[in-house]
Symmetry: C2
Subunit: 273 residues, 2 copies
DNA sequence: TCAATAGTGTCTCTCAGACAATATGAG
DNA sequence: CTCATATTGTCTGAGAGACACTATTGA
């Protein structure tokens, strides 16, 4: 039973959240018998200039969680592979174009009450963006923004202008005023743990540096992840331990100080873990 | 539209597979628009007497893949958490009782054509069984058997009586006559890779030894996973590197040779990776 | 020239692996 | 006693971390 576009718009945007939920559940009578499947994408990038990690969030303009910030993602189309869905949704909502090798599966979240609309199961993916593309407004006209991601002690802090979202690594909960939609705080924390664990054996996180980078840039990315001053990571030791993952491709004559060599990631090696 | 039990039985057991599939898809008209969600469980145990790893498989007595061997698992009930489903299904089909801390999520498999019935997405779980409980015939009367699991070179070999299923670790494909149902070969290979990767940092695999074990028993389990003679693993070095995960709880006066000490796993530590 | 940055070299400590020596119990 | 099995100890080489030194460029 297709609904009129007007009705759709009204409930998604204008109605109250409880009105919306009543309407939505009437539209999907089977939602408590058979799950809806969604994909959520954790996209990480890094700006060399500002030495800041970024995480892509969109502001929801529809119920539920209207106005809240959330990970990009959405419903899987009929018989669509999850990876395809992840790539499609990311492009539609943010303009960022991914490929299959960019993304790695993170975790399936399936708590029955994680979505107020009913039974919605999500599979989360993680990707590192090397070249930060301009963000476009998706067809759903959602705002997509790169939030700054910082670790301070046992907290992850996401900021964009005056918005500040804080996640506790120990209790795995959000803290403070601004909250993320759904259980996206848990998804982000899971992504963070994944990055932390694979840093030294499979430093995919360095894909945020794009096709080439210097040792010091890599050190800075590591320091951002760990939430420490990059000078605490010894240049010499870091180089020794990471060189097996790098390939030297040239020398950079730019900037102050002794010119640094330029490296590539040897093999971005699909996520083994 | 509920169907009669007779009709159900006929199509699941007596009809041809193609007849069954036509009927099944008619019963689930939305199967190509909205996915069905299943859980598949990789259960591993170990028999000290025979020094053999075991993997639990059930023989399907219904279409599709009637007669083939498959992982235990099944459809998630309305608004049921996946973990609950995993535990429930395993008990129903095999009589093995798990708890939440026993299981760890493995991967979500979602290739659109992985199930001939239509769009069926599965989340796989991995568990290590310390005490091998007697297998009971589930309500679906499926045969549940512990297959012997051996690694030989780059193959995993599952055997039970005259049944021999061979999986290639490199190509990630089944080889030979006997094949597993669905993409369960891939699920088992994914589980094997997970075990291999977490062996030295989080040896959950040793949960197959139950509440207490000796160093040599742990060595033997490791050797089985690696597919090598256990004497190739130096007792002294192995002990040194693993002792941080063990707690000494006594001495075993039984058997030939110098009595060995008995250990427990320090903290079975939920799967970090 | 100095400050800033990056590359190189050295020393130590730890840990894994190879291997030797010792302890215990069954036969 | 001998053999099988476990434990304990020693030696060495690789790698991580602390730290000192050298090289190159801009101001």
């Amino acid at each position: 039973m297709p609904t009129s576009e007007d009705e759709n718009q009204y409930f998604k945007h204008t109605a109250s959240e409880s009105e919306f939920l009543r309407w939505y559940r009437a539209q999907h009578p089977s939602i408590d018998r058979s799950p809806l499947l969604t994909v959520d994408d954790v996209l990480i990038s890094y700006r060399k200039k500002e030495d800041e990690l970024k995480l892509l969030l969109i502001q929801r303009d529809t119920h539920p969680f209207k106005g809240s910030w959330a990970l990009p993602g959405g419903f899987v189309l009929p018989k669509e592979a999850m990876e395809t869905c992840c790539i499609r949704n990311t492009f539609e909502e943010t303009g960022v174009q991914l490929t299959r090798t960019d993304i790695e599966q993170l975790y399936c979240f399936s708590e029955p009450d994680r979505d107020p609309r009913g039974w919605v199961v999500t599979v989360s993916y993680l990707a590192f963006i090397g070249k930060e593309e301009p963000l476009t407004k998706g067809k759903e006209a959602r705002n997509a923004c790169w939030f700054t991601l910082k670790r301070v002690n046992n907290h992850l802090i996401l900021t964009y202008q005056d918005i500040r979202i804080e996640l506790d690594l120990v209790t795995k909960r959000s803290i403070g005023e601004d909250r993320l939609a759904f259980d996206h705080d848990q998804i982000i924390l899971t992504a963070y743990e994944r990055i932390l664990h694979q840093m030294y054996n499979n430093p995919r996180i360095l894909l945020v540096l794009g096709s080439q980078f210097t040792i010091s840039e890599a050190r800075k990315v590591f320091a951002q992840i760990l939430g420490i001053d990059f000078r605490l990571i010894d240049h010499s030791n870091f180089k020794k331990s990471m060189l097996k993952y790098f390939k030297e491709i040239g020398e950079s004559p730019t900037g102050i100080g002794r010119p640094s060599k330029i490296y590539q990631l040897e093999k971005p090696s699909g996520s083994i873990l």
